[in-house]
């Protein structure tokens, strides 16, 4: 293993380091020599501002022996800094950072081989005149410009195994008390069922640190097992990332599942589900706890990306929390590693351009993950709320997303579209930076890298930590919202009436029929059959399909008590006899209805009286 430093062109006086490259170099024996060479030949080392955030993520996530990297990287930075060669760019994103130097021929960009950063640079479609050094474990490949680098350094193309729908035929059913075996023959006893999912069952084992996932029949496909083999070899062992560590086999050596570290607590889906759910589990939580949780989660996503892994199926259900310092990523067997795709995903977190794809047939790109990451950050900060959830909105979530309809833009208007429940106040309390990022992300479709979210979240967290807000409410989980008295908006009981009318009474009120013809949906729903059916068509007269301001149906409203049409059927006439009424009765009726008529008659009487007076006094 040797890195030939002579390959690096002497014209390159500015070395741009992506964190991935330093991370890779730091596990190489020659890194000290390399650092010495930089200092001797007086080359500038330029880092983007996210470098230290990446490092922070590695500091927090990595465990021994990888932890060694931390001090190696720190030494490198210290030596370069004391030699006066360190330059820090203000750019956080790798793409904007590199773009600054696009036409600089004296620059040389260092990227790790097959890293997410290479893909980010590729997807940005920039042309760079700078040289590129691609760092792998035991060598550096030098390219004279970005184009030639990207032509040689190909991205992964999807593994052909992902096309196979075959699955392993096993007749093994594992239950509590059963034994399974690792490759080296050690015995693992499944001691207790934890949960059952769509793919398999998770069991406790006799070692509390490890749990076993045993797949259902028909779930182990060639791709799945190949990925697991690869994952157990790569062996990511960060705390809180429940990476498959040991493959499990049945007594007859048939693959059945894997071992992973135990996750504690509840899924984020159960916790981040509105104020009640959060406070039920964490009664003392404040805003800072939410931010700390979010920071630790994003940290893990960043850490995985440094190792070339995209999670793919990012969603709250695939994460667990014991407390803000102990969060876990679970269901890691579905992640995208190298050329093996993540075959699952949900509409809420998947970028629109992938909606109509079958996930098992595509490799996700970093900017796809960026989208999911943005949604995740928002959902965490807003205690489970989705950025596109809104009041009085469109028919489907898809339409809202496609229209980039982000309700927090219109915060000031009286008829706010922000979901009811204090979320507008959470928005108000955000840092300016986060507000701008959210608006750019959700109303203009900008994709931020996880590290950019990380830097924004930690900035907010640190401001809360230093108590820089003068408003005490800003520190609360739900600022300016009294959660003890928070009630649903007042319920209009008119709906109950509508239902009753719908089922029973509507025919009596036959002149309402035409008022609904305007709305196509209501017309279509409750079209009248014939014009004379007003009294016969007793069951379903047109119903008002609530339009903009729908009266809110509640359980009290609709269901209490059970409405039995028979209860009221006898008061509903099947045939209404329209009796001939006397003139005066009709007049009186008309008078009641028509005020102008009354005024008119009063006027006539007054006029007659005046005429009478005039004649009399004449």
């Amino acid at each position: 293993m040797a890195i030939d430093l002579e390959q690096i062109p002497s014209s390159c006086t500015r070395l741009l380091f992506d964190y991935s490259a330093v991370f890779q170099l730091s596990s190489c024996n020659q890194f000290g020599e390399f650092t010495e060479w930089i200092i001797q030949s007086k080359r500038e080392v330029i880092l983007n501002s996210s470098f230290r955030f990446f490092h922070e993520c590695v500091v927090n996530e990595s465990v021994f022996p990888e932890k060694r990297v931390v001090s190696v990287v720190r030494d490198f930075i210290e030596r370069v800094r004391s030699a006066g060669l360190l330059v820090e760019s203000v750019q956080t994103s790798i793409v904007t950072f590199v773009k600054e130097y696009a036409s600089d021929k004296s620059a040389c960009l260092f990227l790790a081989k097959k890293s997410i950063s290479v893909e980010r640079v590729r997807d940005s479609d920039m042309t760079g005149k700078f040289s590129v050094c691609i760092v792998s474990l035991n060598q550096i490949d030098v390219y004279k410009n970005l184009d030639s680098c990207l032509n040689e350094e190909l991205s992964f193309s999807i593994n052909p195994l992902s096309q196979s729908t075959d699955y392993l035929d096993v007749d093994v059913y594992c239950n509590v008390g059963d034994k399974v075996y690792s490759e080296d023959g050690s015995v693992i006893i499944l001691s207790e069922k934890i949960s059952t999912g769509a793919e398999g069952i998770v069991f406790r084992t006799t070692d509390p640190k490890w749990v076993a996932k045993i797949y259902h029949k028909g779930v182990i496909t060639p791709l799945r097992w190949r990925k697991l083999i690869h994952m157990t070899k790569t062996g990511i062992s960060a705390k809180g990332i429940c990476w498959p560590s040991v493959l499990l086999y049945s007594f007859n050596s048939s693959p059945v599942g894997y071992l992973m570290q135990t996750a504690e607590g509840n899924t984020l889906g159960t916790i981040f589900d509105g104020p009640d759910a959060v406070l039920a589990h964490f009664p003392n939580w404040q805003r800072i706890d939410v931010l700390q949780t979010a920071a630790h989660i994003i940290e893990k996503i960043v850490y995985l990306q440094l190792h070339g892994v995209l999670i793919g199926d990012i969603q709250l259900k695939n994460m667990m929390i014991k407390d803000p310092e102990n969060v876990f990523l679970i269901d890691m067997d579905s992640v995208q590693v190298e050329d093996m795709p993540c075959p699952v995903g949900t509409e809420d977190y998947t970028p629109p351009e992938l909606w109509d794809f079958s996930f098992s047939e595509i490799l996700r790109k970093p900017f796809h993950e960026d989208y999911s990451c943005g949604i995740l950050v928002f959902s965490l900060l807003f205690c489970g709320q989705h950025p596109y959830a809104q009041r009085l909105g469109k028919e489907t979530l898809r339409e809202e997303i496609l229209a980039n309809s982000f309700p927090y833009l219109t915060n000031t208007s009286a008829e706010s579209m922000i979901p009811v429940g204090g979320y507008d106040k959470i928005w108000d309390a955000l840092t300016e930076n986060l507000k701008i990022m959210f608006i750019q992300a959700f109303s203009r479709g900008k994709r931020f890298e996880p590290i950019e979210w990380y830097s924004a979240i930690t900035e907010y967290r640190d401001m809360l930590l230093r108590r820089e807000y003068s408003d005490d409410q800003s520190y609360l989980l739900f600022p300016h919202t009294d959660l003890t008295t928070f009630k649903e908006p007042p319920v209009t009981l008119s709906y109950k009436k509508t239902i009753r009318e719908a089922i029973i009474q509507a025919p009596l009120n036959s002149n309402r029929v035409n008022t609904y013809e305007g709305s196509s949906s209501s017309k279509m729903l409750y079209n009248r059959q014939s014009s004379n059916a007003a009294t016969e068509d007793h069951f379903f007269e047109p119903l008002k399909v609530p339009e903009e301001k729908a009266p809110m149906p509640t359980r009290e409203g609709i269901g209490n008590p059970i409405i039995r049409s028979s209860d009221l059927r006898d008061i509903k006439p099947h045939k209404v006899h329209v009796k001939k009424e006397s003139f005066f009765k009709r007049l009186a009726k008309k008078l009641r209805k028509d005020r102008t008529l009354i005024l008119f008659m009063v006027f006539i009487i007054c006029a007659a009286f005046l005429v009478f007076l005039a004649i009399y006094f004449n």
Binding site: S164, T165, D166, Y167, D169, T196, A198, G218, T221, P222, W225, R226, S254, T267, G269, D273, G274, D276, V344, G345, T346, E347, D348, G384, Q385, H386, A389, L392, G393, T396, P407, M417, I418, P419, E488, P489, I499, M524, L525, N527, Q529, E536, D537, H538, F539, F540, V545, P546, K549, M552, P553, R555, I558, G559, N560, P561, I562, I563, S565, R569
Partner: protein
Amino acid sequence: MAKDSKTFEASDFGKSTRRRLPICFCLDVSGSMAGNPIRQLNDGLSSFFSSIRENDETRASADICIVTFGGTVDIFLPFGKLTKDHSIPKIQATTSLTPIGEGILTSLELLIARKEGYKNLGIKYYQPWLVVITDGAPQGNNAIENMEKAITAVNELESLDRLVVFNIGVGNNVDFTLLKRLSKKRQEPICIDSAQFSKLFEFLGSSSSSIVSSGMKDDALYDLSGTTKGNSVAMDEFFKYLED
């Protein structure tokens, strides 16, 4: 018939941020369902409810309502989330006619009202499910007219992707032509005999979980044959895949 108010948790409408899946069961309780069929229907329903309860994600998302029709149309169970432990009362069969059209229209009314409620509060939702189970043909005053209205209404919502329809016929006395027209997306109505209820509800239960947690698409709900699975291969063959 009395509704146990403890069956549901109180105010779940406003505070949870979860995306809801409104499911309205529209069930035939006319005379012909009496006896075995209604018992099997109840068994099926309760296994459906327990499968929903099994998965926290699904339980929190599923917003369930039951409308019954048999002589009259009743809202047997208004919309709400299942609680962990209270059981749902048993449905009783009546001795009367089959106002299926009215039943469906009431269900639509409730589904639409529920959706308006979501919109009003800013709650996300999946497109609602209408599960119609009948063993007969429309009967009663204006039954056919109302059924025609129901079909038109359901077809239009379905074609706009705003409703997922399960039109299910039980036994041999079903008016299949009419039932078939209830859904344009489903090739044939789902035909079962009452002994297969448990299987049907198992499918509904697992499908709702797939919608809520694995992002399954609505269109998949129209294919009852299940996902087109590949072949099962023996271990030797399986490992050959991995060698390449």
